[in-house]
Symmetry: C2
Subunit: 334 residues, 2 copies
């Protein structure tokens, strides 16, 4: 009887130890994956037709699949982020690349940035006009120059020297964005107002090696003037990645995101206050930023592969994919 | 005997209470004051003639006096910061305004930013060419536009609409900066290299109402190309102010300051880790940034009027003034 009891105890200890080992391995192995957004704002089921909604869902799924395939093959989070953003830049649905918002003068002016969480290297461009994929140029600024940020014509000269694909002005023209400008211009005669539909795109990823990356690309505000730069090309405001904490891409009313240093603030709350990704990103978007009057949201992924996508607007085009390949895409605030 | 003892005790309690009240009043009253910098880098006694050193000391003292007089009269920290920076922009000694560095094409391109710690409103301009005082334009972006940041020609159009003083290209030309460009261009033929003398200017202040402000202005890197933007016009990187923590202005190798979000990081360490201004600013400049490979420094003032001016280079033109009017100006790392 006593021997049986001893054997049972040994078995229990063995099983328990095995479970502990499995749990440890599970926790140690990064649950790689990624998240993307296609902008936050006054998106509601009433003003989105079923066809339009389907189109958005399909394009978000396509972007996530492109990034996922790279991560699955052991590719880098930087490449996954870039691939997902290029697909959204190439789609007229989003305010980035093709489909970028028009500035006051009827010109498309685009911003983008990308950051590598391992080296904290980063690249950004602001106010570029004829660059087909601004995120590619931001990556090149990081990889092929000693600088982080380039703007305007200078950035386009750098692009030309590095054989970056350009497109004619007509390529970026979409009726939707053109009409948005005309509408704002009509209203401007009465009183200046903000266009509360944002369509910035972004991606964050954690690869199998445990490296984080974040990127953001935008056409900026409809009717923007005076070479206005928003948060998207600003490291720390619209984009941030650091392997010790998280990767973040923001979308929303850029001025508030700059003044709140939103993307880095989430990382700082994790590093300095020990908050989880969910706690930090929710605190920044739904408490601090909201109280400050700023509307928008972020997508974020931490070094364990946890994903958070808080926003304080009616909707945010967003989606995520885990290492098991499960893709989740959403639009509204449920 | 008992009555005497009781009286003595009452006296002791009275004196003790009075001391407590005085101590409390002392602690509650903000010890207003300000600090400025004129750039950090390879500044050593060997390569600075006594005449040059005297000129720098005089100009720093003049800038501090201008800011001090505003604070003493009950003026705002924003006005004090702007006044001190204008004096340094107007001097050919510093790499800002008159005396700005030349870019690769022999053109002066300037950046500036300013932030109000009370409202966290901020304004910034990047890549402006003919604006006499870029810090004034940054302030106008904050006060007269819904935006935080404007760049290039667009910013100059905004300046013209707001009657901001311009100057001809020759005004910004100094032999010193022109020769610096020629020297770098000669070296560039051999191998590209950084010019490790920075001359960015900045100011931080705490006014009698307890409001903090920070501002930074620069001509950027000698021989910069492709519309490169450094940390000076970036809120969170080169400039940050928040009444609950501190005001910071940075100078140094901008790319590292952007990737480290230096100015906001000091504030975050105070807010989230409970560090003092000295601890936070020293940790960021002499530990984190140094380990990361970034050279430069910051000036910072907290909500109690404590001043910190850490730098990890050979020297930093710097100075501070307290509410008693005592001005301290320094250059080298003693």
């Amino acid at each position: 009887m006593r021997v049986v009891q001893f054997r049972s105890l040994r078995k229990i200890i063995l099983v328990f130890s095995l479970l502990l080992v499995i749990f440890e391995l599970q926790a140690a192995e990064p649950g790689w994956g990624m998240a993307i957004h296609g902008g936050a704002g006054t998106i509601s089921q009433e003003n989105l037709t079923p066809e339009k909604e389907r189109a958005y869902r399909e394009k978000l799924t396509q972007a996530l699949t492109a990034g996922y395939n790279i991560l699955k093959e052991g590719g880098s989070s930087m490449d996954a982020v870039q691939a997902a953003i290029i697909i959204m830049e190439d789609s007229p649905l989003f305010n980035a690349g093709k489909g970028a918002a028009f500035n006051h003068h009827g010109v498309n002016e685009m911003d983008a940035s990308i950051m590598d969480g391992k080296s904290r290297n980063s690249g950004a461009v602001a106010g570029v006009r004829l660059i087909k994929n601004p995120i590619k140029l931001a990556r090149l600024v990081m990889d092929k120059s000693p600088h982080v940020m380039m703007a305007g014509e200078g950035a386009e000269v750098f692009a030309a020297q590095n054989n970056v694909a350009t497109a004619a002005a007509e390529y970026f023209h979409t009726e939707k964005r053109w009409n948005a400008l005309q509408k704002v211009l009509r209203h401007e005669r009465l009183e200046p107002r903000m266009d509360h539909k944002f369509g910035t795109v972004g991606a964050v990823a954690l690869d199998q090696k445990g490296n984080l990356a974040a990127g953001t690309s935008t056409g900026g505000m409809t009717n923007k003037r005076f070479g206005r730069i928003g948060d998207s090309p600003l490291i720390g405001a619209g984009t941030y990645a650091n392997n010790i904490t998280c990767a973040v891409s923001a979308t929303g009313h850029g001025e508030y995101f700059i003044r709140s240093v939103v993307a880095y603030d989430i990382s700082a709350l994790m590093e300095y206050k020990g908050m989880s990704l969910h706690e930090a990103s929710n605190f920044v978007i739904n408490k601090k930023l909201k109280k400050f009057g700023g509307s928008g949201g972020v997508i974020a992924i931490d070094k364990h592969g946890n994903v958070a996508m808080p926003f304080n607007t009616a909707g945010m085009y967003r989606g995520s994919v885990r290492k098991d390949g499960e893709i989740v895409v959403d639009i509204y605030n449920k």
